[in-house]
Amino acid sequence: MPAQAGWRMSEAATHEANPTGLAHQFEDIEQQREASSLGMWAFLVTEIMFFGGLFASYTIYRALHYSAFEWGSRNILEVKWGATNTAILICSSLTMAMAIRSAQVGKKKATTIIYLLVTMLFGAAFLFIKLYFEWRQDWIDGFVPGLHWVFTSAHPSTVEPGVQMFMCFYFFMTGLHALHMVVGLGLLTVLVIMAARGRFTSQYWAPLEISGLYWHFVDIVWIFLFPLLYLIGGRYH
């Protein structure tokens, strides 16, 4: 709780435009930072529940149609792309953390901007691989349920319905994840602009921190998606 003298700040003072980024409803920058951080954590809890519905459904259906899910994972998804993307995302989390750190310790604003840009580059690379090498190929092969589903007689017909279910989950889950990545790239763009304008100081870096939380969260979702979707097929080459 901030010092009580601070709370008696006159109304006029709270109205003044504040160059340090302090909003009128807060008493000091520390209270504001704690509030935005708690807000982001609460938001991430809702995100966990949002993805949670999908993960729970996935778990139930994987138990019900195990062989079909395994078949789909082994024959449709490519571990090499999943693994590459996993590595890319982990690296992007590192550079995100570096960006926050560089602002906290008061490094030059160019340093922060470079770390942010590298993070964005990793994010874009992830999306490119997902879109071009994976989803595009799935479309060509006719593995997109509802839109382009061509399951030839070469495939075992016994698993066909379950494989379609597996691919439904694959597209829902990776699609939702990719959507979050796009939002994350938008946030990073805003951060780059803010950093370029010199908004961040060693006192004020809350936007970096909370966007970082979000970015790491999206990363962690992928860390769960990768084994659940790619590795259950057991073909690791």
Binding site: E11, A35, P161, M165, C168
Partner: protein
């Protein structure tokens, strides 16, 4: 709304600047970040949505006056009850108390200048409006006929109505709930005035906190469920589709995982309001503060593990049914704790019967009936008999209308002088409270009987032997309707003609009454108060210092 501000400003009795006359014009309302104005924006919006839901209900009751249906074909009747359910649950009850009174009161009650994220607060309202527009589009384009529950496969494959627009409306309005809950949680954690410890908080704050927890944990699940439903409808294949090994029951599990806690989203804020009204009009500190506070949290937590009691007869395993039955009985305990503590507060209190108190007393009686009949439904064997009948309809209307709406009206009447700075005619208000109570019971008590006799819900026609009770119910609904119109008239009247209320017309305790004028200034307090007292410190005050 802007006319309201202008009128208040013209009154020579109030030259003071407050949140209503600080700025004028439609822009100053649509771009406001003041939690008090946002609360009023929500109030206008949900009142409009309530009107839509009420019209649908009136048409249903008209239809059911005659056994073969007095008004429309069954297909149209299906749309009536679907629109009534969807609008009332998602666009009125869920946001009702939290988004209006919660927005208005939380910063005032904890001694803050605003909520933690004012812009996010305004964004929530815009999301809500967008959701409302989607729903209104669905209604005008031809309606929805799935019921408010959207069960697959009917909603995903067979219904030819505007399911996607309605589901999208709920999806978007859901994000409004999530952001409101998030804002409240952070505000209550981080924005309390010096000395405002957790156990000095008004119990309304505790119940809003518990509600917010359900908002942020439950709403995302209905969001993803409706998203999956919408995709399945668009693509004609999806995870609830039995042709590819999907299980329609999974939809029901996901739906009720949100929608049962949503019942508590509707009733917990009401309980919070009652916990304010009872001490204020009994002139006593609430009995068992800590128990009431923690029972709110207990309800929020247990509410997440009882959803299966909606599915006793769907073919879920008997053992799951047993466990859900036991857990459903458990959730009755914290609810009962609240009822006992309210009645114990009344005991030897200096009770006065102003309009808000009449609503509060009505709430306690009706909520108790709704809660106890809930235990009938939580019992496996009884549920098999009454599941899907009017017994269920009567039960949840006792909770949602007899409970949540009564509390909402009680709260609006209690804080109206604070919100507008004006008093309303108390005699009319008491008359309206009685009318609503009588109309409500006449509408819904016969439905318990109907359900017990076996009349199924959601049918446009029924056997002639049920006509007596149905006519009774429809007659009650017309009285209830009149009861809702009366407050609308005199509350609007009071905006111009009501006498100035003064800061604390009820002589109530709490920062919003004792430290802020009516209406409060834009930044709520001249200086942030320092709290040195427990909540409801009524010792030493007696009688009512009002009107």
């Amino acid at each position: 709304m802007s006319t309201v501000t202008a009128e208040l400003h013209e009154s020579p009795a109030e030259p003071r600047t407050h949140y209503l006359n600080a700025s004028y014009g439609i822009r100053s309302w649509l771009l406001t970040t003041d939690h008090k104005r946002i609360g009023l924006l929500y109030l206008a919006t949900i009142t409009f949505m309530f009107l839509i839901g009420a019209i649908a209900a009136a048409l249903m009751r008209l239809q059911l006056i005659e056994p073969q249906g007095a008004l429309v074909q069954p297909e149209t009747y299906n749309k009536f009850f679907s629109i009534h359910g969807i609008v009332m649950v998602f666009f009125f009850l869920v946001p009702s108390i939290p988004a209006t009174l919660g927005n208005f009161l939380i910063p005032l009650m904890i001694g803050a200048r605003d909520v933690a994220f004012p812009k996010l607060n305004l964004m929530s309202w815009y999301l809500f409006i967008t959701g409302c527009c989607c729903m209104l589009y669905a209604i005008m384009a031809g309606g929805v006929d799935t019921g408010w529950t959207f069960y697959v496969p009917y909603s995903s494959a067979y219904s030819h109505q505007h399911v996607i627009a309605a589901a999208l409306g709920i999806f978007i309005a859901g994000f409004s709930s999530i952001l409101t809950g998030l804002n409240f949680i952070v505000t209550i954690h981080k924005m309390r005035a010096p000395g405002m410890t957790w156990f000095r908080l008004p119990l309304f704050i505790w119940s809003m906190y518990a509600t917010s927890v359900i908002f942020i944990l439950g709403t995302p699940v209905i969001a993803i469920t409706l998203l999956l439903l919408g995709l399945e409808r668009l693509l004609h294949v999806g995870i609830f589709d039995p042709r590819i090994g999907g299980d329609p029951l999974l939809f029901q599990h996901l739906f009720w995982f949100y929608s049962h806690p949503a019942v508590y989203i509707m009733i917990l804020p009401g309980m919070g309001v009652i916990s304010e009204l009872i001490p204020a009009f009994s002139r006593k500190r609430i009995f068992g503060y800590t128990f009431v506070a923690f029972s709110s949290l207990a309800i929020a937590i247990i509410s997440f593990v009882v959803w299966g009691h909606h599915m006793f007869v769907t073919g879920q395993s008997v053992y799951a049914g047993l466990i859900f039955s036991v857990l459903s009985f458990l959730v009755a305990i914290p609810s009962a704790i609240k009822v006992f503590n309210w009645t114990a507060t009344l005991y030897r209190g200096s009770i006065s019967y102003e309009a808000p108190m009449l609503y509060a007393l009505g709430f306690i009686g009706l909520f108790t009936m709704g809660g106890l009949t809930g235990l009938f439904l939580a019992s496996l064997a009884v549920d098999v008999h009454v599941n899907g009948t009017y017994f269920v309809v009567a039960h949840f209307h006792y909770i949602m209308v007899g409970g949540a709406v009564m509390a909402f009206l009680g709260g609006i009447h209690f804080w109206w002088p604070k919100i507008t700075g004006r008093l309303y005619p108390d005699l009319w208000a008491r008359f309206a409270a009685f009318t609503i109570f009588i109309g409500f019971n006449l509408t819904f008590f016969p439905q318990f009987v109907l359900g017990y006799l076996g009349m199924p819900r959601r049918y446009a026609v029924y056997p002639a032997e049920f006509q007596f009770y149905n006519v009774m119910s429809s007659a009650g609904a017309s009285i209830l309707g009149v009861g809702y119109v009366i407050p609308l008239v005199y509350l609007i009247w009071s905006l111009r003609y009501g006498p100035p209320a003064g800061p604390n017309p009820w002589g109530a305790k709490g920062l919003e009454w004792e430290k802020a004028p009516s209406p409060p200034p834009t930044h709520n307090f001249e200086e942030i108060p320092i709290v040195t007292q427990e909540a409801y410190d009524y010792a030493g005050t007696s009688g009512v210092a009002h009107v």
